[in-house]
């Protein structure tokens, strides 16, 4: 018996004014011409609500790049969904924010690429930090829940205190400090983004202190990179268990990265109902239950908790989507992750002494054609 999905991730577009080097969008993106229409998204929202979804996350690319975003918000709310907007803030004016709030937006999550303009704009590949600061102050004028999502990694973890101080001054309800995870463009830039063990340990102490200081005023959620974890995350709450993603062209995926796994045939909302896709489609069924698990997962006590970790990460790192996620200390291929982590720790000292003056050779996220 398949449980109902809890949330719909609506990847409205892959267009985006920024070029963040850690972006988890697929390398092969959907172009504007292939995007679902307002009416098609409306149908998706209604079906998602009927299927049991409580939340919709309007995301992308940059959801503000959709000119019909206010209408989409209204339709999602009318369908009975709680509307979250996951955004860089680029393209959001006071008038538009008022219209979105009026249309039923309840929560806005605004990304920050750093605590200061120069390094933040380098990560984003565009001048954006100043606009985000101004927008954050504007958001507080509206009756919205407000989260700041600060993306951290090797290049900015040493400045975490300053990033937290910046966020504190902007007064969101919640601060999510998100270490980069390695999919899409982030994987291409992994060596420049992977923190050292020392950076990670220091960051945990910094976050702990901040949590205590800010308890009751600002909630802090800290996500550490799973390359440093002992056990894997229950990715997306499990394959086809809690979350359902619809990409800009209507393809239904259990997560943003699943398109990398070969041999899976993903269905499209233009051709099938959401209910059928969720309950019965081969792609969604593929990694449900335990029959697909090889050892050691198959007889592991943790299999009901983390489901063997992330299928996409297993594919990306080992070439086998059924393998135990290599971040797991019990994974046969755990050595792959240990090597990456060891290299991260060795390189930082060398970088600082020899290459401090050279710019990082980033692979910047491109826009779809």
């Amino acid at each position: 018996m398949v449980s109902a999905p809890l949330a719909l991730i609506a990847e409205l577009t892959h267009r985006c004014p920024l070029h963040c080097v850690y972006c988890s969008n697929p390398l092969a993106m959907r172009n504007a011409a292939s995007e679902l229409s307002t009416a098609e998204w409306t149908s998706v929202f209604e079906q998602a609500s009927q299927a049991g979804c409580l939340h919709v996350h309007l995301t992308g690319g940059e959801p503000l790049a959709r000119r019909d975003l206010v209408e989409l918000t209204a339709r999602a709310r009318a369908a009975g969904l709680y509307v979250n907007l996951i955004t860089s803030g680029i393209g959001l004016s006071e008038i538009r924010l008022a219209a979105l709030t009026e249309a039923g937006l309840e929560h806005i999550q605004l990304s920050f690429q750093g605590g200061q303009a120069e390094p933040a704009d380098e990560i984003a590949g565009a001048h954006s930090h100043g606009h985000k600061l101004a927008l954050a102050r504007l958001i507080r004028k509206f009756k919205l829940a407000f989260t700041i999502n600060a993306v951290v990694h090797r290049q900015n973890l040493d400045h975490l205190s300053a990033i937290i101080a910046m966020a504190e001054e902007l007064a969101p309800d919640r601060l999510e400090i998100a270490n980069v995870q390695y999919y899409g463009w982030a994987l291409r830039n992994r060596d420049a983004l992977m923190p050292t063990r020392r950076q990670l340990e220091q960051s945990q102490a910094t976050v702990s202190a901040a949590e205590q200081r800010l308890a009751g005023r600002m909630r802090i959620d800290y996500v550490t990179p799973d390359y440093y974890a002992r056990y894997p995350k229950a990715c997306m709450g499990g394959w086809g268990r809690r979350l359902l993603l619809i990409d800009p062209a209507g393809q239904a995926l259990p997560c943003h990265a699943a398109g990398v796994i070969p041999g899976l045939s993903f269905d499209n909302v233009r051709e099938h109902s959401l209910a059928w896709i969720w309950q019965e489609s081969s792609a969604f069924q593929r990694f449900r239950g335990e029959a697909w698990m090889p050892e050691p997962c198959r007889s592991c006590d943790r299999r009901g908790e983390d489901f063997g970790g992330c299928r996409c990460q297993a594919w990306l790192l080992t070439g086998d989507a059924t393998a135990t996620d290599p971040v797991c200390c019990l994974a046969p291929s755990h050595g792959l992750v240990e090597k990456v982590v060891a290299r991260a720790t060795d390189d930082l000292a060398q970088e600082k002494s020899r290459f401090a003056s050279l710019p990082t050779a980033w692979v910047y996220r491109r826009n779809p054609s």
Binding site: L6, Y82, E106, Q109, F146, T147, D173, R219
Partner: protein, 91 residues
């Protein structure tokens, strides 16, 4: 900011009730939801920005009359403290 007897707890923006299928009441908040039953539900439903903590405790005592009154007050404070930390209520 500590919770006083005269504090008036209220839901923060973006936190609201919803009915799920099967008639159960859920509290929705950014990116999440909690299913509340029993005392938790009774307490949170009274966080309307009008009632004081003292009034909420008193109303709970009337519903759950057999309980130790001091214990009910402590349970209310702990529960509200947790929701405050999660940025679901303010006062």
């Amino acid at each position: 900011m500590t919770l006083e007897a005269t504090s008036r707890p209220r839901l923060l923006a973006g936190c609201r009730w919803a009915e799920a299928s099967g008639g159960e009441r859920l509290l929705l908040f950014p990116e999440g939801a909690i299913r509340l039953q029993g005392t938790g539900r009774e307490i949170l439903e009274r966080c309307d920005g009008q009632r004081t903590v003292e009034q909420i405790v008193e109303e709970l005592r009337q519903i759950y009359g057999t309980g130790d009154p001091a214990r009910i007050e402590e349970d209310v404070r702990i529960f509200l403290g947790k929701l405050h930390q999660k940025r679901i209520i303010d006062f």
